[in-house]
C-alpha cells in the first residue's frame, strides 16, 4: 500500500507528562484517515508534530517517502481546533497573506481565491472585515484558507465543532471532493459518527498510546459479534423463546418498527450460517426484520478503551 504519510515511533514528553508514547501511524494516499481519541489523548500533539509546530523527542515522520522538511508546510493544509482569523483585517487581504505564507505567489493566490470564493459564493465578502462576518461565514473563509494552496495532505482537527449543520454538510462534501481529486485527509475527532460516515481508515489513540488502527471496515469486521437483530411476529412466542434460548445467546433488542411483537438480538456461533437461523425462524414466525449488527465505531471505541484500562 502506498502511504503518503508515515509516522514512525513518535515520542513526545512535556516535562513529566507523556503526550505520545511510541506512536506509529501510516496514512494511505488519497484516503480519509480518522484519528480518534478522547480529549487529551495526544491527537493534537501528533498533528502539531506533522505540522512541525512541535518537534518529536524521537521518531521520524515521512511525507512522500522523505523525512519532513520545513518546506513541506506548503504541501500541508491545516485547520486547527483552535482557529480564528485577524478580526480587523479584510477577508481578501487576509486570505492572500496566509496563502502567500504557504509559499504561493500573489498571482497564484489570487487565482485560487477567485476559484474558491466563486465556488462557495462568498466573493462579495472580499472587502469585509472578519468582525463583520458571522461565525459561520468566518468558518467558510477558514476552510478556503486551509485548502487554498492545493495541499497533498489536509489536516482537520475537530473540523465540525462549531460549524452549523448547513456549513458542516457543505464542508463534508468539499472534503469528499478534495479526496476524489487526489488529496489525502487526516481527520482528528472525538465524534465517532463523522468517522463512520467519512473515513476509510482510522487509528485510535488513548492516553498517549495507539490502541488500534487499520481500515474502518476491517476493524469493524474484527469486532463483529455474529449478532443479528430480528423483528418478528411468532406463531407461538413461548415455544420459540424457549427453543432459541437453548440454542443461541439472545437478548432483548430495541429498535423502532410498526408491527413487530418480538424484537431480539440473536448471537450465532462463528461457524454457523445466518441462513440457517433465518430458515429456522421462518418456520416459527413471520420475519419482518433481519439485520446483522455491525459494531459502531463508538462501540469499538468504548470497548477498546475500557479493555485497556
Amino acid at each position: 500500500m502506498d502511504n503518503l504519510l508515515v509516522a514512525e515511533n513518535i515520542c513526545k514528553q512535556f516535562g513529566n507528562f507523556t503526550a505520545l508514547n511510541n506512536v506509529s501511524i501510516n496514512i494511505p494516499r488519497e484516503s480519509i484517515f480518522g484519528l480518534l481519541g478522547p480529549n487529551g489523548a495526544g491527537k493534537t500533539t501528533f498533528i502539531r508534530i506533522i505540522n512541525q509546530i512541535t518537534m518529536p523527542d524521537s521518531g521520524v515522520v515521512y511525507l512522500d517517502g522523505k523525512p519532513l522538511h520545513p518546506n513541506d508546510v506548503g504541501h500541508i493544509g491545516y485547520l486547527p481546533e483552535e482557529r480564528g482569523l485577524y478580526k480587523s483585517m479584510k477577508v481578501g487581504e487576509q486570505a492572500l497573506y496566509l496563502a502567500r505564507l504557504k509559499g504561493l505567489t500573489k498571482a497564484e493566490a489570487k487565482e485560487q481565491l477567485d476559484y474558491w470564493f466563486t465556488k462557495l459564493d462568498i466573493k462579495h465578502w472580499w472587502d469585509k472585515k472578519i468582525q463583520e462576518l458571522s461565525k459561520g461565514m468566518a468558518q467558510k473563509v477558514q476552510f478556503v484558507i486551509t485548502v487554498l494552496h492545493r495541499p497533498k495532505l489536509l489536516i482537520f482537527d475537530e473540523p465540525f465543532s462549531g460549524f452549523d449543520p448547513v456549513n458542516a454538510d457543505l464542508i463534508k462534501n468539499e472534503i469528499l471532493q478534495l479526496r476524489n481529486e487526489g488529496a489525502t485527509i487526516l481527520f482528528s475527532t472525538h465524534r465517532m459518527e463523522s468517522v463512520e460516515e467519512l473515513c476509510d481508515y482510522m487509528a485510535l489513540i488513548h492516553e498517549s498510546n495507539k490502541l488500534l488502527d487499520g481500515k474502518v471496515d476491517d476493524i469493524k469486521r474484527a469486532h463483529k459479534t455474529n449478532t443479528f437483530e430480528v423483528g418478528m411476529n411468532p406463531f407461538n412466542e413461548n415455544e420459540l423463546l424457549a427453543e432459541l434460548n437453548s440454542n443461541f445467546k439472545i437478548k432483548k433488542a430495541h429498535f423502532k418498527s410498526l408491527s413487530d411483537d418480538l424484537k431480539l438480538n440473536i448471537q450465532i456461533k462463528p461457524n454457523e450460517s445466518p441462513n440457517d437461523l433465518l430458515q429456522y425462524l421462518i418456520t416459527k414466525s413471520r420475519v419482518n426484520h433481519f439485520v446483522e449488527v455491525v459494531p459502531s465505531v463508538n462501540d469499538i471505541f468504548i470497548k477498546t478503551v475500557t479493555k485497556n484500562e
Binding site: 508546510v73 480564528g84 482569523l85 478580526k87 496566509l98 502567500r100 477558514q142
Partner: protein
C-alpha cells in the same frame, strides 16, 4: 526570508492603519505644541505680575539704592513705624516689608536685616535684594577701612574662564546644560519609545492568541519568524511615527512661535535663571550645539534604539505569549519598567553630576539600562572603546534574550486558559 518580509509588511500595515495610531500621530504634536505654548503663556503672565515691597530703612544708608525693576516696585516707608508699615502692607496687599535697622556697624547690620511677608518671598526676588544690600555694605565697609574705592574698582578683574578641550575646541559654561538637555532628551525619548512600542508588540501577540489565528500562522512559519517579523514591523511603524512627529513638530513650532511673536532665541536665556547671558554667549551656544558629537549621537541613538528596543520588545512578546489577556500582564510589567526607570534616574542624577563616574559608567554597560544611560553620556564625550564594549554587551545579551523569549513564545502561544507563574515560564524554556 520571504515569509519574514511578508510578516513585517503585514505587521507594519496593521500598526499604521490602526485608527489610534493615526490619531496619535497627528494629534500628539498638536497637544505638545499646545502644552508648550500654554506653559510659555503662563510663565509670561507670572513674570508680568509686579510685586510691591515696602522698605523701612532706619539706617538711612539705602536711600535711592533700591531701583524699581520690571517685577519689583520699592516703596519707601521709613517715616512710619515698623508696626504701621506691616499694617500698611497688609492693607494694600503688598508683597512684604523689608526692615533695615539702624546699626552703624556694617557687618552687624548685614546680619540684622529682616523681611516680613504673608508668605516666604521668591528666591529670585530675595537674591536681588540681597545683592543690592551686599554691594552697598561691602563698598561702605571698604571705605570705612580706608581703602580707595576707585582703586579697587580699577583693580577688579573681569574673569571669564574659557573652556577648551584637548582637541582645542572652545566650549562655554552653557555647553554643559546643552549636553544635559540633548542627552536627557535622547534617553527619555528612547524610554518612551521602548514602552509604547513594546506594549504594541505585546498587545499584538495577545491579539493573535485571543483571535485563535496563531496556530494557523505557525503551521506556515516558524514562531521565531513571526516574533521577529512582529518586532521589526512594529519598530518600523514606530520610526514612521517619530519621523512624522519630528517633521510636524518642527513645522508647528515655527508656526506658533511666529504667531505668538515669541522668539525662540530669546526664550533660551530664561532657562539660565538669572545668570546673565551676553550676546557673545548666544553665538557660543549655537557653536556649542554644532560642536556636540551630533553624528555620534544620532548614530548611537539608532544603534541603541535598535538594541534596546529589540531587547525589551522580545521580553514584551514573551509576556504577551504567556498570558491570555492584557489584564494578566500586570505581574510581569514591573520587572520591565524597573530597569527603564532606573536608567532614567541614574541618567538624571548620576550622569549629570558626573558623566564619567563609576555609577554612570557601570550603568552604561549593563544592557538593560545602557541604551538610556549611554545616550545621556554621549554628549559629554565617551571614549570609543567604552561605546564599543557597551554596544557589544548589549547585542550579545540581545541575542540571548531573543533566544530565550522565542522559547517562551513558542510554548506560550499554544497555551490557553492558564495564568502562568514565573516558575512555569522557566519550565517552558527547557521544553
Amino acid at each position: 526570508m520571504n515569509n519574514l518580509k511578508l510578516i513585517i509588511q503585514r505587521e507594519y500595515l496593521a500598526r499604521v492603519r490602526n485608527k489610534t495610531f493615526i490619531v496619535m500621530t497627528f494629534l500628539s504634536p498638536l497637544i505638545l505644541v499646545g502644552m508648550f505654548s500654554l506653559i510659555a503663556y503662563l510663565s509670561m503672565l507670572n513674570n508680568s505680575e509686579t510685586h510691591t515691597i515696602a522698605v523701612k530703612d532706619d539706617s538711612g544708608l539705602f536711600k535711592g539704592e533700591f531701583e524699581n525693576k520690571e517685577e519689583i516696585d520699592f516703596v519707601d516707608v521709613s517715616s512710619i513705624s515698623l508696626e504701621d508699615a506691616k499694617l500698611l502692607v497688609k492693607e494694600k496687599e503688598y508683597y512684604g516689608v523689608l526692615y533695615i535697622p539702624n546699626n552703624q556697624d556694617n557687618v552687624a547690620l548685614a546680619k540684622s536685616i529682616l523681611f516680613f511677608g504673608k508668605e516666604a518671598p521668591s528666591i529670585g526676588i530675595l537674591r536681588q535684594i540681597e545683592r543690592t544690600i551686599s554691594k552697598n555694605l561691602t563698598t561702605r565697609e571698604l571705605i570705612s577701612r580706608g581703602l580707595d574705592i576707585s582703586q579697587i574698582k580699577a583693580a577688579e578683574a573681569q574673569v571669564d574662564i574659557r573652556i577648551e578641550n584637548f582637541q582645542g575646541e572652545r566650549t562655554s559654561k552653557m555647553s554643559n546644560y546643552i549636553k544635559m538637555i540633548f542627552g536627557g532628551a535622547a534617553g527619555y525619548l528612547l524610554m518612551m519609545f521602548i514602552i509604547i512600542y513594546g506594549n504594541m508588540v505585546m498587545r499584538s501577540v495577545i491579539e493573535e492568541k485571543t483571535n485563535r489565528i496563531i496556530e494557523i500562522i505557525i503551521s506556515s512559519v516558524k514562531p521565531i519568524q513571526l516574533m521577529l517579523g512582529k518586532i521589526i514591523g512594529t519598530s518600523l511603524a514606530g520610526i514612521t511615527q517619530f519621523s512624522i512627529w519630528v517633521v510636524l513638530g518642527t513645522i508647528l513650532l515655527f508656526v506658533t512661535s511666529s504667531l505668538t511673536g515669541m522668539n525662540l532665541m530669546e526664550a533660551q536665556p530664561q532657562m539660565q535663571d538669572i545668570e546673565q547671558v551676553s550676546n557673545g554667549e548666544i553665538q557660543q551656544l549655537i557653536i556649542d550645539i554644532t560642536n556636540l558629537p551630533i553624528l555620534t549621537l544620532i548614530l548611537s541613538f539608532l544603534v541603541y534604539f535598535i538594541g534596546g528596543y529589540f531587547l525589551y520588545s522580545a521580553i514584551y512578546a514573551a509576556i504577551g505569549a504567556a498570558v491570555d489577556s492584557e489584564t494578566d500582564t500586570q505581574q510581569f510589567m514591573f520587572p520591565i519598567i524597573l530597569p527603564l526607570m532606573l536608567g532614567i534616574y541614574v541618567g538624571f542624577f548620576s550622569v549629570i553630576e558626573n558623566p564619567h563616574g563609576t555609577v554612570s559608567t557601570i550603568f552604561s554597560m549593563i544592557p538593560l539600562t545602557s541604551p538610556i544611560v549611554m545616550l545621556m553620556r554621549i554628549p559629554f564625550g565617551v571614549p570609543w572603546y567604552e561605546l564599543a564594549i557597551s554596544v557589544i554587551i548589549l547585542f550579545v545579551t540581545n541575542a540571548g534574550v531573543v533566544w530565550l523569549a522565542a522559547k517562551i513564545y513558542r510554548v506560550g502561544i499554544l497555551m490557553y486558559g492558564k495564568k502562568p507563574t514565573y516558575k512555569e515560564l522557566y519550565k517552558w524554556i527547557k521544553y
